[in-house]
Amino acid sequence: MSLLLEPFAYAFFGRAMLAGVLVGALCGALSVPVVLKRMSYVGHGLAHSVLGGVAVGVALGADLYVGAAVATVLSAILIDRVAARRGLHHDAAIGIVTTAAFALGIAVLAVVPTRLNLEAVLFGNILGVDARDLTVTTVVAVAATATLFVAYKRLVFTVFDPEVAAVHGVPVRHIELGLNLVTAAVVVASVRVLGALLIAAAVVLPAAGARLVTRSFAALVGLAIALGTTASVLGLYASFHLDVPSGPAIVLVGTLGFLIAYVASGTAARRARRAGAREREVGRLSERGIVDATRTQVRA
């Protein structure tokens, strides 16, 4: 018990935990469209541009968040614009835009001396979570949640079938741009806790794991949020007790969750395959009126 409560004797841990829970839930929710749209590169890329933005911002004497926000939002818009060009896909767009930002950041750090704690920016540091970080995280959490809430149906349609979504009146371009901006905001809010380099994993792992064990969209969203949050909480404890940076700790816990889902789904899939094959056969036969599916019992 003391393992769980003891860390809260330190004020910074309470703040880190609060920020961690928000960031974990956000990354969990965001991981769903990221995984389904196969755009894990976006998280990867935006995270790289964060470093560039932070470096340039700090070198210019600006605030960490200002640099990070400007860099990611600019990158998100640029990625969107470059990818809108025919013949270039998102991954190429991201590779170009964000690596350039990363390179710029490193170059600036080499030339301009700053007091930037590079390791903390790259890997996350719970000691560094102050009241202002908490405010930023909260604001991002509220805004992102509101956006996803309002756009939910249209976003699902866009992720599933963008072409028909557009024909059916969904403003697909705006939805996609909005998703990129939300991703950018979440990346910025996650820098303190997760670190720039490990955000990419945090916006993939939860939905990747959840997807293995559910086929319902609502369950996927719920499970991904739960996984993201749990990884954050356990990871922060691990970070405190084992004295590892918070980013790696959270990502390792998330990976463990993914592995558990992977093993569990393997076992379940073997069982379901046998039942499913039989059920599909009954379905086919009943379509042709050979078997009455309503009377046919299929046992798993």
Partner: protein, 285 residues
């Protein structure tokens, strides 16, 4: 509004540099049922996209249901059934959820659907004969069931024009007949239908109008008049022959058996000596 549902006037259309369709003129009146045919890459899908704001209109004009259509500005009132295989078949949605999405653009901006919306989706699935699949993950559907689900999604949006891209490809003959019967019903209820297909004989025997496409509109009219050896050659190239069945419907067949080389001597000129002729029975085996 005039009685023209679709009005394409001298249009050149393109995705990027090369023009995919040129000098296209097509009008579709309210209540028509039109089949678009043409070889692969002819621009059938592109012609549908022309009507939905999916390609660039280089010149000319496109009007659908009285609305001017340009790229990125789809008209209201159109339901679209995409070519099978255009989406992730394993996407974690149920059949009912997919149908509900069809009208997402005019649904309230909250993550859930109302009971009325769900009832309507279920009624559509019922009408299309897959009511019992409503709660199933789409990954578990057969091709024909998936096709009907997408038809239900297209209908979920209150539409006057239904566009279908190869709705009869990749399903068995019984399912094909079922899909067509449903489309016939919808058409009878007043919907204007435009579909693409590779199945010339189906168009010839069931549809009142066919449009042959290959980079432009090659021919347009009643199948009995349009489906001639000349038009088919201009659309598909040589190799097809038109005969007529006992009802006088044109039927397309291969002009000659297609020789499959057996790998031995075939340098003897003309029809190779050692050629296997494929008969339907062998293909089935």
């Amino acid at each position: 509004m005039s009685d023209l549902v679709v009005r394409v006037l001298d249009v050149d259309a393109a995705y990027a540099r090369p023009t995919v369709l040129s000098a296209v003129d097509v009008d579709v009146a309210r209540g028509e049922f039109v089949g678009l045919v043409g070889p692969s890459g002819a621009g059938k899908t592109t012609l549908l996209r022309l009507l939905t704001g999916g390609v660039e209109v280089r010149s000319g004009s496109v009007e659908v249901l009285g609305q001017r259509v340009v790229r990125g500005r789809p008209p209201r009132g159109v339901g679209y059934v995409p070519q099978l295989g255009s989406v992730d078949a394993d996407f974690p949605l149920t059949v009912r959820e997919v149908v509900l999405l069809g009208d997402a653009a005019s649904s309230r901006p909250v993550p859930w659907f109302t009971r009325d919306e769900r009832r309507r989706a279920d009624a559509l699935l019922e009408r299309l004969g897959i009511g019992e699949l409503a709660g199933r993950p789409i990954a578990e559907l057969s091709g024909g069931q998936r096709q009907r689900m997408f038809l239900a999604r297209a209908l979920a949006r209150r539409s006057e024009l239904l566009l279908l891209d190869e709705p009869t490809s990749g399903v068995d003959l019984a399912t094909r007949a079922e899909v067509l019967r449903l489309l016939g019903e919808l058409h009878h209820d007043g919907l204007t239908v435009v579909l693409t297909t590779h199945d010339l004989n189906f168009v010839a025997s069931h549809l009142p109008r066919m449009v042959c496409v290959n980079g432009t509109v090659i021919a347009d009219g009643r199948p009995r008049e349009v489906m001639t050896a000349d038009v088919l050659t201009r659309t598909y190239g040589p190799g097809l022959r038109v005969v007529h069945d006992e009802d006088g419907h044109p039927v397309v067949t291969d002009a000659a058996p297609i020789p499959l080389h057996s790998g031995t001597d075939h340098a003897s000129g003309g029809m190779p000596v050692a050629a296997a002729v494929v008969t339907p029975a062998e293909v089935d085996a």
